[in-house]
């Protein structure tokens, strides 16, 4: 369900404790690089087994098979398991040349296809490794066709695990989603994180709630000096948390949840870590959007009405500037755009100021859009 746009021939699916990577068509050299990074992620991510489905693979460029062999070795080192399914004859020869022949299983993968679970995935060890450890059985539910919610939950669990493993300073990660009108933790890396989310739902405040409802990022670099959530913050500190980064999950342009990263250290998240967190949140948002989360007609229509209002407002502001400053229409837009960028406002917020529908800003450097008044002066701005 996570398919990468840049390599549509490579997809990753998670079934219970198993990561299934499907390769299709011709995997050329650039796609092989994508495959390499995906294999790295799966290996790093602790799945108890990995399945490579090659049934629709026509060709695999170098060094594809060596990357697979390398992943197989690393999985085996951790007592984990690789199985390869249904390669074509030429691909099978390539695999055998790299010592991967022993990993090929051509029986049906019943647990993957929704048929009855016969026996679990039979492990096939590296020929030169004396010991293999059986992967745990897939949970009973894994044999049934997943519901949409199951698919979403599994995707978010993967995102949470990847974020936990790769974002520097992350001691715990969770994903919250609005379901049936309330926020629910869909995936969490540990109990403390679950408790942290629960405290926010209980107090009705916190970065997770704000990110989930406002659709923008909330970063509390140090809870010692945090004033935005007076009830929640002491509870978080009592659980040993010092820094929180909540990135919005958005489907169809509407906020539907958040990806929350917690740290025991203040100032734990370096700019690169923040960018990585944003990357995971956008990836998860794309999944949620594809899955049609919240994409109800009502919400779409509401969104469209809001777009019309925004458009009208911006046109009015352009009119004001054209009249007042003698600008052309395009120059008026540029004026609004540059000011909004300089002040960290949205263009819409800037337009509201120009048309006088919110508090006027005599200097022209208004702050109406800056609502993330963190004392640390970070750059989170959204009107």
């Amino acid at each position: 369900m996570i398919s990468r746009d840049d390599s549509p021939d490579i997809s990753l699916e998670v079934v219970g404790p198993t990561a299934v990577i499907t390769l299709r068509g011709q995997i050329d050299r650039s796609a092989v690089a994508d495959l390499g990074s995906l294999l790295d992620q799966v290996v790093a991510n602790g799945y108890s087994s990995m399945v490579l489905d090659l049934a629709s693979l026509h060709s695999l460029a170098d060094p594809g098979t060596s990357l697979i062999a390398d992943a197989a070795r690393r999985l085996a080192d951790g007592g984990r398991q690789l199985s390869i399914r249904s390669p074509s004859t030429p691909v099978q020869r390539q695999l055998e040349a790299d010592g991967l022949g022993g990993f090929i299983r051509d029986e049906e993968f019943e647990s993957m296809t929704g048929k009855a679970v016969g026996d679990p995935l039979r492990p096939v060890g590296l020929s030169d490794t004396s010991q293999t450890i059986l992967p745990p059985l897939p949970p009973a539910g894994a044999s049934a066709l997943p519901t949409d919610d199951d698919v979403i939950d599994a995707a978010l669990r993967l995102v949470v695990e990847l974020a936990r493993a790769t974002v520097g300073g992350a001691d715990g990660v969770s994903a919250s989603l609005l379901r049936h009108g309330r926020l629910t933790t869909v995936a969490a890396s540990d109990q403390t994180v679950l408790d942290m989310d629960a405290q926010q739902y209980a107090t009705g405040e916190g970065p997770c709630i704000d990110a989930s409802t406002q659709g923008r990022r909330f970063h509390a670099p140090s809870l010692d000096v945090e004033h935005r959530w007076p009830e929640f913050t002491p509870r978080a500190e009592a659980l040993g948390i010092r820094a929180i980064l909540s990135s919005p999950l958005v489907a169809w342009g509407l906020p539907v949840g958040s990806l929350n990263i917690y740290s025991h250290q203040p100032a734990a998240f370096a700019p690169d870590d923040q960018r990585l967190a944003m990357k995971f949140a956008t990836e998860a948002s794309a999944i949620l959007t594809d899955a049609g989360v919240t994409a109800t007609d009502d919400l779409r229509s509401e969104r469209f009405q809001a777009s019309l209002r925004s458009r009208e407002l911006i046109a009015q502001a352009q009119g004001v500037l054209m009249e007042r400053d003698g600008l052309t229409e395009d120059a008026a837009f540029t004026e609004l755009r540059v000011r909004s960028q300089q002040s960290g406002q949205t263009l819409r917020a800037r337009a509201e100021e120009v048309t006088g529908s919110t508090r006027p800003s005599a200097s022209g450097w208004g702050t109406a859009g800056v609502v993330d008044g963190s004392s640390t002066g970070e750059g989170d701005h959204r009107g």
Binding site: D5, D6, G215, R216, R217, H219, S247, P248, V250, W252, G253, Q274, R275, A277, M278, K279, A281, T282, E283, S285, A286, T289, D290, R303, F304, A306, S307, S310, R311, I314, A315, Q318, D330, F333, T334, R337, S340, Q341, G344, T346, L347, R348, G379, D380, H381, R382
Partner: protein, 83 residues
Amino acid sequence: MADEIPDQFDRFRRDAGLTRGELWLRYFELGGMSSAFQMEAFLYGALTPSRHDHDVLAHALNERFVELGGNHPVPYVEDVEPV
């Protein structure tokens, strides 16, 4: 700008985690006048947007990046050509 990497806008769109439909709505919201179909052609470099369209599209993407804690990574016309 779009001349060098034809699908530059679409790469930014994917990085921003926006569907094409959602991006078009944001572009429209900022006063964009092109159809969703035309906008897709801008994304892939199949059509060259007017200077104004370029900036509206860039700003729609940049506002999304700001929401996600980023800055304004998508270049405006004035960033890539002397005015």
